[in-house]
Structure formats: structure tokens, C-alpha cells
Amino acid sequence: MIKFSKQQLKIPQMSKPVYLVTGGMSKFDRAIPEKRTEELVIDAFLEAAEFIKKSPEELKKYIHSCYYGHFADHFGDQLLGEAVIHDRLGLDPLGNVGIKTGGATGGSTIWEAYKAVASGYSDTALAMGWERMDEVPTDEGNHYIASAADKDWETPMGHIYTGYYAVMAQKYWQVFGKEEESFRRTLAEIAVKNKGYARMNPHAQSPMKITVEDVLNSPIVAHPLRALDCCLMSVGASCVILADEKTAYEMTDNPLLLYTSAGSHTLRVADRRDMAIPLLPNESPDQYKDLGVRFPGGDRYPGFTGFLAARMAAYYAYGMAGIVDPTEDLDLVELHDAFTISDIQTYEDIGIRPYGEGRTYVESGDCYHTNPFTGQPGKLPANLSGGLIGCMHAVGATGIMQVIEVAQHIWGRWSEMHADEAKWKRFNRVKPDDWTDLQVKGAKRGMAISHAGVGSHVTATVLVHPDHQLKGRG
């Protein structure tokens, strides 16, 4: 579709509010030979139970239906792997279903669990996601990932998903980045930031203390993207428990309101037809009239530079939660930084910055925990977990990990979950001497964006502390 009906633009109206009760995650790594997938899933579940001081048995008693996010049966080499996990969690004979939407699988899994609770089908639902990407060597992994592009029209070309993504990067780089060295450095700063924040996260797979020069000198993957601009390939699991109001307050005294929405766009970027830019609440109809003048070549929307799926997910979620301006109304975000350049594209799609101006979110220092230019708290810190570049991309688990990370800030328990020496030791990782507390002080609202491939599926999950709801919510 390139035009939308009134019905399609309806802000979702749920039958009842849904709360995030708890969440947990396993260690993430490139390979975990010593554990089966179900062991990682149980690690995540145990952390979620412990977080609200419940035994696993107590927590399980609340669960009524289960939603399992697992992107690739190919990787796990086990069809109906969800049934294996469900059994090992001891949750039979409850209803369960597998969800797969590529890189957005984690977010979509929460979306399904959310609707189950909002509709009244379940008072409490489990959303669990995982991925096992160490069953094949990297080149075969790339082939499998490339199989999530169109098998007849795209995959035969190099069997390399990065290539299908990088054509978008190239277009954005030339049109909106104007091939400027300063823009290339801004991209590198995102990697430096996210790898650096990963150093404070015991779950993270790729903590690194690096500089912009290190990123610029890392091997070229596809110009202008280099190895350190790209996300990880990971193994691990994460889960959240969602519940209705009454049950949530039975389980914990501090649940968070949760809203999840979803958008989509064609699997092949090839098929994306030119259309008018759908506007977010903080944008005006006139503001993009001269986009093609300011950025020659930037007048085709979404073309190869925007993600319509992200824009639509944000449109619905902002309406549901009452968000007008994400930079003002949210205190932190976790974005799907598959590549540094797609991270910048997303800033624009979700209205953190207008189209064409994404880079200023980084260059202003707003995206940092502490603004490097002012020494003050960043206006809207992004990816304090380390994101997909620093923490992990265990695909089915990613979108869930992001939601847990955002929630821990709003709960004011980020430090507790990341400073714990025992956890660092359990994961066989060394806590850095300069470990820094990244808790966003006073965080009340946050959002996580879960994103598939070249933008085929995107979900937006907004978390709101119940004492700090916004006016004008749907």
C-alpha cells in the first residue's frame, strides 16, 4: 500500500492495560558450546523469577499462554523447537506459539503476548526469545541470513545479507551524508559508544574500548561500512512476563505499563513505491517539501533511505502511549543498531530527528548517557546495553533484551543487574576496573525498537511508569 485508509491508521485500542512484570536474560556470546538452547532459556527464566523474588515454580503458576520468538529453524536445525523449549520449561499443556519476523522476532513476540493479555485471553503471558547462531560457520550463517531475503531475486547474489542492506547505506551515505568525512566519523562514534557501553554489561558479547580511528581502520565490509559498524552474530535467550493490572500488582509492587505496535514493509527493497511521508505528531505537513532540495536525491520516500515499517510502528505506539515528541517524552531508547548507518536512519523514522537530520542526534551528544560536550545527562540516551553492535544479536532474543534493559532503568535497578560481581564471574567475564553506573536517573518512560532485515517488520515497545503516564494516550 502507498495510501492508507482511516481504518488502517486507527490508533490501537486495547481492551485493558498491559504491564511488564519482570524480565531476564542469559549470557550472550558468539558460541556457547557448553550449553543447550534450553539451558540458556532456563537461565533467562530464572533471572526473571529472581528479579521479583519468586521461585521459578511460583512464577510459572501465573503463566497462562506462551509466545516463543525464534527466527531461524535453519540455525537451530530443529523444527518445532518451540515445543522443545516449552517442554523443558515445564509449561505443557499451556497453549504456545512460535513467532518469527526476522530481526524483529523479539519485538513481535512481545507484541503477541501483549495482545493475549490485552484481550483478556490470558492474565499472564510469557514472551521468550532465543537464537542459536553457532551451529554453522560464519559463511554458512551468512547464507542462512541471506535466505531471509527473497530466495529467487536476491539470495543468489552473493548469499550475503549485508550486501542487500549496504545498498541502502550507500544511498543514505551519498544523499543525506553527502559523503562527508564528518558524517563517516559520526557513524563511527555510534560504534564507539555502543561497544563502550557494552563494557558495563556482563551479558554483552563484544565489549570494546575503541576510538573513532579504530572503527575507521577496521576491515571494510561494504563501503562505507566497516567491520566495527556491524552487529554481532550471537547465541542467547531473554524473556519477559506480561500481565493485566490486577495480576501484575499481585506479582510485584512495581510493574510498568507496556504498549507494543508493529509496522511492515516489502521484503525486497526493490518493491518499495514512492509515496508521501506519513507524519508523526512532532512533524508538520510542510517540513519535508524541500527535502529533495536540501538533499538532492532524497525526495523519493521511503526509497532506499527510510524504513516505512519503523515509521508506522512509531505512529501507532506514540498514539497509544500519548507521545508527541520522543526526545522530550522519553528518557531513554534501545534501537536496533544492526549497522551504524541504519541506526541513524531509524532516528529519523521514529521522529527523534526529522528526515535528513539523524546525524545531529549523535553530534549533539543527546544520544549519550552523559553528553560528552556538556558533561550533563544526555537528553535521550540510546543503547546503554551496548545494542546489537556491542551486546548481542541473538535474533529472537534481541527485541526482548532491549525491553528488559529499558525497564531496568525505569525500575531504577540497572546498576543492581549490571554491577553484580557474581554475575560477571558466572559468565566468566572480567568486570572492568573503570566500570561505570549507566543508570538513567529518574527514568520514567522508554522505548525499544525491534527491526527485521531491510525493514520488513518493525515493532515499537513503549514502557511507562504508571505514575508518569502521558496525556492524550489512545
Partner: protein
């Protein structure tokens, strides 16, 4: 372990008739750590899938005839009536009526240009293209979509004019039978098996 007599398929009376082998079994091997402790096993797999092109078959068949086929919405009641699609779409994405086939070969020869591109040294398993691969996303005048392909000669640039070439000798009947070269390339320079 032999991999001879690989499977082939024919359709007779609307049914697949298969001959030869569609899979080969290999023994698995233990995976151990430095101390010799068993951690797992390898699971080799060698299988052939049987894949139907369905309504897109004319597109793949005609690449070997040096023809680039697209489709067009032919439903006057559709709000995007007349939109032209390549990749070949069997049905209009808006009205879902069956699209009409259109021959885009001449249009591609005259009016195709690079919308964006990418050069990469990295490939996944089973890649058959020479590295670095030069992906080009090609736009055509009057066409709603932008086709992904690969450039066989020269260095890509946004806006550069390109023309299609087709693997007419020993075609693979896949999208790989279509490639692109800069406009003005001489026939003598084309890769083995390809023609304008």
C-alpha cells in the same frame, strides 16, 4: 561417500517425477574440548529442494532469451492502475488482480540507471559470483520499483546508465542469468556466455 547421480525432476501430468538422489548421508563426528570431553556432534546435511517458480516462471525462462519481463496492473478500477513492476509481480499489490506481462527489455536498454549500489568482498556460503561483488539497484523510467542486480563490468556510480546482459549460453534459469554493464560496453567485452 558418493554424490553422483544427483537428483533431477520432471513434471508429468501435473506431478513431480524425480530420478536420482536428493540427499546424501554422511557420518557425524564428535566435538570435544581440549581435555577430550564430549560437547556435541557434527550433523552433516546435503539435500536438494524442489522449487516451483509458479507464475514467475516466464521471467526466469525469458532471461535466457535475452528478454526482461515485468508486469503491469491492467485493472482500470485499481487506484494504481497502470503501475509497472520489476521484480515481476504476478498480482497487483493493491487490487490483487492478475497483472499483465510487459516486455521491459527495450526500456531497460534505453532508460536504466543505478539508483544505488554496493561493492563487497564478503559473501556467504554457496556464492558463485566473483569478488568483489558490485550490487546495483537499477531504476527504469516509468517503473514503480527498483530492481536489484549485479554489475559485471566497470565501477558503479549512482546515476550511471546501465544496460542489461543475459546469460544466453548455458543459462542457470535463475536471477543470475541477468546482469548489468555500463551503457556503451562492447559485446566483445561481455563475460563468457552473456549477450545483450
Amino acid at each position: 561417500m558418493t554424490t553422483q547421480n544427483r537428483g533431477t525432476v520432471k513434471v508429468e501430468n501435473g506431478r513431480y517425477r524425480v530420478t536420482g538422489n536428493f540427499h546424501y548421508a554422511y557420518p557425524n563426528e564428535p566435538i570435544r574440548d581440549e581435555s577430550g570431553k564430549l560437547l556435541g556432534i557434527t550433523n552433516p546435511a546435503d539435500m536438494t529442494h524442489i522449487h516451483a517458480y509458479g507464475g514467475e516462471a516466464p521471467f526466469f525462462e525469458n532471461l535466457s532469451n535475452a528478454k526482461l519481463l515485468g508486469t503491469k496492473c491492467a485493472n482500470p478500477k485499481c487506484e494504481t492502475y497502470g503501475s509497472v513492476y520489476i521484480p515481476y509481480r504476478i498480482h497487483c499489490p493493491d487490487c490483487l488482480m492478475r497483472n499483465e506481462e510487459v516486455d521491459l527489455t527495450e526500456l531497460a536498454r534505453k532508460g536504466a540507471s543505478v539508483h544505488t549500489f554496493m561493492i563487497t568482498e564478503r559473501t556467504g556460503a554457496f556464492n558463485t559470483l566473483e569478488k568483489p561483488i558490485r550490487f546495483v539497484n537499477v531504476e527504469f523510467e516509468g517503473v514503480s520499483t527498483i530492481l536489484m542486480g549485479y554489475l559485471s563490468i566497470g565501477e558503479p556510480k549512482i546515476g550511471m546508465k546501465v544496460v542489461p546482459i543475459f546469460q544466453t549460453k548455458n543459462p542457470t534459469f535463475t536471477i543470475m542469468d541477468l546482469s548489468w554493464v555500463p551503457a556503451g560496453t562492447s559485446a566483445a567485452d561481455l563475460p563468457e556466455g552473456f549477450a545483450f
